[in-house]
Amino acid sequence: MTATREIYWNISNVWLMYVLFVPAAAAFAYGFYRHIRTWGATLPADRHGRVGERLLGLAKYVFGQARIHGAGRAPTLRHWYAGAFHGLFFFGFIGLFLGTLVVMVHEDFGLHIMQGDFYLWFQSLAVDLCGLFAIVGLTMALARRLFFKPARLENTERDWFNAPVLLIILCTGFTLEGLRFAATNDPYASWSPVGLIASRALAAIVPAEQIRPLHASLWWFHLVTVLGLLAALPYTKLRHVFTAPLNIYFRPLTARGAVLKPLDLETAESFGVSKLEQFSLKSLMDLDACTECGRCQDACPAYASGKPLSPKKIIFDLRDLLHEKRDADGELTAPATVPDLIGEDALWACTTCMACMEACPVFIEHVPKIVDMRRYLVMEEGRFPDSVQQSMRSLESRGHPFPGNTTGRLDWTKGLDVRVLREGESAEYLYWVGCATALNARNHSTARSLVSILNEAGVDFGILGEDEACTGDSARRVGNEFLFQQMARQNIATLESRSVQKIITTCPHCLNSLKNEYADFGTNFEVVHHSQLLADLVASGRFKPQGEEAQSVTFHDPCYLGRYNGVFDEPRDVIAAVPGTSMIEMERHREGSFCCGSGGGRMWMEEPVEQRVSNLRARQALATGAEVVGVGCPFCMMMVEEAVNTEKGSRDVRVRDIAELLRGPVS
């Protein structure tokens, strides 16, 4: 006799099951139809195509759960407990679902697969264990919410629905199996160990004559609960079972630094986002993909420093508005504009550091939404902080964002051999100095160190001198797309007049604009950060490091170098090449790095002392005990050095650019 079991044992009127399925499926389909309809129709062009890469993403981030457990990522992005329980019930339910499919194929399609070894190994043993995994996983999740809830999670009524209902389904499932074993003496019961234990326990407490009636009524209860959950799925955050994979599929495949797309200034009727429907389809899909895990909030430097911004809350608020709009069939009662709903203070608190997007397991894009709303405030309304207005005026009239600056762009070159390229002249590399390096006295030594290394290594390079202007990075981040495009076009013309192909930058912000953002205006520059070139020069032996004496160094990853452009190793290679240095990492490093507080136009906004992101970062750096804090960005230099000096007390801690570390002081 082949191993199998009787389907619908002890159940009569099975046809009723099919009848009950219809309304549940209808509620399920209608729920998702409403979501999809409110997302609108405008999927950005860069989210089409590259199907293979997108499917691989599903494999990695859905089935591999890569961003849920975060194995192999920076320490602050690893979540072994949540990763374990999510993995347990994710794969558990996949097994149970497959088990149900097997029943359907066997019974409804008449394809008799549920027998023999397959029945024993898969349908009995594997599915039984899957049920056990799911129970363990859900219990771990509930225990976390009950006894050791991280602050980023909120417990609302909604959160007491999904896990308990799923547990009820699992427990009634095992009870049903146990009752059947107890009544039938199934010869294959030992292949279902959990069901077997249940049957022993049930046999001890349930009188034999009540087993069959109890089984029948529990079976219908189990069925109705399953169908109820199916119907409720689109209306609870369990919808992420479908929306998260969709969101992962349509994730941006460009470099992180290229996620802001140019506005068409000539044809657009309005700029930025003031109304929900002006967001793109992917932007609104984001809102329904959110699982409320709160990791974005934990990663956010603005939130950590007590500012009125939480990326999680932005997503919640926009989602609630989206659902209100959906429920009211397109009519919105609440506030006039989306930026007003989120609040200007929250929108201006963002440093655009991308820590939230790096932390999100389902690829929600917080920063482009914030910039979209800033675009509306700046481009349409002229509503933004006074100090930033000063910077923008300076950018317009003087080509750099430092109002009141009196330093010349060539002041740092005094006594050094630096060639200024005039129109028509060219060199192998253009060193794009950047306003923050050229115009801030502290950063002059970074440029001087770099240039002296380049000269010693015999690198052919030149600079633009007075013809260099701001790349427009901070104009774009604060939402002034008009000014950004103006700066971009002007700089591209300047660069093309020197036939520039390869560019070195000391500023990761310049790097990002020149490399990722100017490409949208038809350029194809090969842009490297000085850490990349220096690592090369050291590795190839073209530069022999001299450097300072023995010292311990910690490295502060600049957001626009690390998270934006994936450059993590080269600055560390450069530091390691300096004789006598030892490296100590901060807890938040590499893609988990914590912003210095100056990105996204924050450089030009007032920050009360107790809310300074830079002071938090300085404390993290000082906690390593390192004698030197290495940086690779002129903005980080200004912020971190000031903060380290404020926080270090009597300790002797220096802040150095990697070029300074490698070269040692240049007189």
Partner: protein
């Protein structure tokens, strides 16, 4: 009230300047052209006055086609009409003759200008226009209010922290002191939409002017040169008493 605002397009940065020895002129290297900041305050005040009393604002500039950009900025800020006189004039006296002629065709009740331009710093144009058009005049004004139908009351700075309140009959010309209003950032969307407003363009001939009218009269520019560093500054060291003694000796020498 019809308000005309004279605004000048100036180089974004004036620190990077060369002397053009042939033309006896200054040449700025800055690639940016912006509305002269002092004139922006005049523009900002005109908007406040319009909001208060109604009327229209005409923004007037002089220069090549590229200076049109600042007129669009004026529209974005709130100007109703824009006028450009197509003439390249650097001499302040000549500029005032051209602007006065243009203002005569505009016929404003009140003319506002800044106190000086960032590039030539002469503070000449405002007063010269007022004199040519025989307008009541006040300089470095920090507040304007209407006083009856045909006059305004202004507060003007006298220097040394003192002010005077003056009544001016209309039509009048007022040079606006910086800081009279806070400058508002022009939202780029409005700037782009402003390009739909066509500027009225006038040539010198339309104003009945010939190049001879603009030639310097009674003076000529002999040469233009950067200031010479003479390195004659001396630092007086020692105690305050010694420094004072040394200073008095120097003063006696000079006398």
């Amino acid at each position: 009230m019809k308000i005309a605002v004279c605004c000048k397009a100036v180089p974004g940065s004036v620190t990077d300047v060369e002397v053009d020895a042939q033309a006896n002129n200054l040449r700025f290297r800055s690639q940016f052209q912006a509305m002269n900041e002092c004139d922006e305050y005049a523009m900002e005040e005109a908007i406040v006055l319009k909001r208060q009393y109604g009327g229209e604002i005409v923004a007037l500039t002089m220069g090549g086609i590229s200076t049109q950009e600042i007129l669009y900025a004026a529209v974005a800020k709130g100007a109703d009409k824009i006028v450009r006189v197509d003439a390249q004039v650097q001499d302040p006296r000549a500029a005032s003759i051209v602007l006065a002629a243009a203002l005569k065709t505009i016929g404003a009740d009140l003319v506002l200008t800044g106190t000086q331009s960032r590039d030539s710093l002469s503070s000449f144009v405002g007063v010269s226009i007022a004199q040519q058009l025989d307008l009541a005049f006040a300089f470095a004004v920090t507040a304007i209010a209407k006083d009856g139908d045909h006059s305004i009351k202004v507060r003007k700075e006298l220097g040394g922290g003192r002010n005077a309140e003056v009544r001016l009959p209309l039509p009048a010309l007022v040079c606006i002191q910086t800081g009279i209003q806070t400058l508002n950032y022009v939202p780029p969307a409005r700037l782009m939409r402003a390009r739909a407003t066509p500027p009225k363009s006038m040539r010198l001939a339309d104003l009945g002017l010939t190049p001879e009218d603009l030639a310097p009269k009674g003076y000529r520019i002999a040469s233009v040169a950067p200031p010479q560093r003479t390195r004659q500054a001396q630092m007086l060291g020692g105690t305050p008493q010694e420094a004072v003694k040394a200073l008095l000796e120097k003063m006696a020498e000079v006398r």
